[in-house]
């Protein structure tokens, strides 16, 4: 599954891991994250993320 990287702080969202801090289960695609989900490291919004090369 496509990983996404936060352009603000460099955090990588890995769908295989999800985001336990926000109760996002493993296997959740980036596209399926809630609109108000924010980067667990720096707090930036979803629009600060780009697909990882």
């Amino acid at each position: 599954m496509q990983k996404y990287v936060c352009e603000v702080c460099g955090y990588v969202y890995d769908p295989a891991q999800g985001d336990s801090d926000s109760d996002i289960p493993a296997g959740t695609k980036f596209e399926d994250l809630p609109d108000d989900w924010t980067c667990p490291v720096c707090g930036a919004g979803k629009d600060s993320f780009v697909p990882e090369d």
Binding site: C9, G10, D21, V41, C42, G43
Partner: protein, 398 residues
């Protein structure tokens, strides 16, 4: 202040900003601050960080006192905020270093900030080791402690870490070492700095401290970029303090922060304070007309409960409380009990609005109290009981 040799060939340079009171435009620095930077004289003369731009003269003077005509070969930029990289462009222009080392996010920030075209920047991700002669410098990225570009520089031969903003305190002093100053004051200022600057990134602090432990770094000297440096046993003390700060374990303490129009909300807040105090909880009663938001935050930091108060004003809350709550929410305090109090004239939205702020900060909310017009004996009793109820919630939590 003149340069201080902190280890043979390793110098504190820095500038003491005795008159600084406004730190970064949002936080009070009641005791001034310092911008520490460092110079290592080895086969490659290496400058670690710079100072705020207004101290460019001091920096040049300090460098000249240590180096004479010898040149600077390397520059390490641990963080690009202007209090540390304020003289970076001038350093590059005047000393023309062979290389500038920074983190991957640092390079990005450097490009965006300085718009350079031909600076000899070299990126140093975590684990990069650089020989400067007798000594090695290794780099550890500390993203979001407290900016994306932040990194630490470690010198194994000296067992010394240049920690940038971590472990810093705003304190202008003629002393350079933590063991030369009053310990209580040092801890207070270190906690104040943490509460207002590092707090939102506490999970990163915990991870970084765990990484340092895993890597088995021996640390005998910690050199932060603000305030006093730590040596010997004080290093373990500073690390222990940071662990304690990052864990955010609440103390038996409550802060009542409020604003008031005709003193009704204030009197209700005082009655709540009495209830808390009578149950043995240490209370701070802080009116926003007399306290700066960063001073309130320093008290909120280790409190178990935060009671917020405002009368209803134009169907909202008073502006100083809106300021306070915006600031507090941004710092993401954890593990708090929250409650609201307020008086009102014709419409009474205050408690509902204040409670929403508390919920948005994930506080454990104890239902608030509002009262129309001037509170009477019965209302004061209710507020007093509310203080006791919050005290019981605190005790259940500790």
């Amino acid at each position: 202040m003149r340069p201080v040799e902190i280890k043979e060939g390793v110098f504190w340079l820095g500038a003491v900003d005795w008159n600084r009171r406004n730190f970064h435009g949002y936080s009070k620095a009641h005791k001034g601050t310092t911008y520490n930077n460092f110079l290592i004289v080895d086969e490659k003369v290496t400058l670690i960080d710079t100072v705020a731009e207004e101290f460019w003269g001091t920096l040049q003077c300090n460098i000249a006192q240590v180096l004479g005509d010898r040149k600077i070969d390397y520059v390490v930029a641990n963080h690009l905020e202007p209090d540390h990289a304020g003289c970076l462009a001038k350093v590059v222009e005047k000393y023309q270093p062979e290389k500038i080392f920074t983190s991957p996010m640092g390079q990005k920030a450097m490009k965006a900030h300085f718009k350079y075209e031909d600076w000899p920047v070299e990126v140093t991700p975590t684990g990069t080791e650089l020989s400067i002669g007798k000594r090695t410098l290794s780099f550890l990225e500390t993203r979001m402690l407290h900016w994306p570009d932040s990194m630490l520089t470690y010198c194994p031969e000296e067992k010394l870490v240049f920690s940038n903003d971590a472990f810093g305190q705003n304190w202008a002093t003629s002393e350079r070492w933590a063991d030369e100053v009053d310990r209580y004051r040092l801890e207070e200022l270190m906690a104040n700095y943490y509460a207002n600057i590092v707090l939102p990134y506490s999970p990163v602090v915990l991870k970084t401290l765990a990484t340092i432990k895993e890597m088995g770094l021996e640390i005998e000297t910690i050199c932060p970029d603000h305030g006093l440096m730590f040596r010997g046993d004080d290093c373990a003390w500073a690390i222990e303090k940071y662990l304690e700060f990052a864990e955010q374990k609440p103390k038996n303490k409550a802060v009542i922060v409020y604003d008031t129009m005709w003193h009704s909300t204030e009197k209700m807040a005082e009655a709540i304070a009495c209830g808390l105090a009578d149950e043995g909880v240490s209370v701070r009663l802080m009116c926003m007309k007399n306290n700066h938001h960063s001073d309130v935050m320093a008290e909120v930091f280790d409190a178990a409960a935060v009671i917020v108060g405002s009368p209803t004003h134009n169907n909202g809350i008073l502006p100083l409380m809106a300021d306070m709550l915006t600031y507090m929410k941004g710092l993401r305090p954890q593990n708090k009990i929250g409650s609201a109090v307020g008086s009102f004239g014709w419409s009474g939205e205050c408690v509902k609005i204040l409670t929403k702020w508390l919920e948005d900060m994930n506080m454990e909310v104890v239902e608030g109290i509002k009262n129309q017009y001037v509170p009477d004996h019965e209302v004061f009793n209710k507020c007093y009981e509310q203080g006791k109820a919050i005290a019981a919630a605190i005790k259940a939590k500790l």
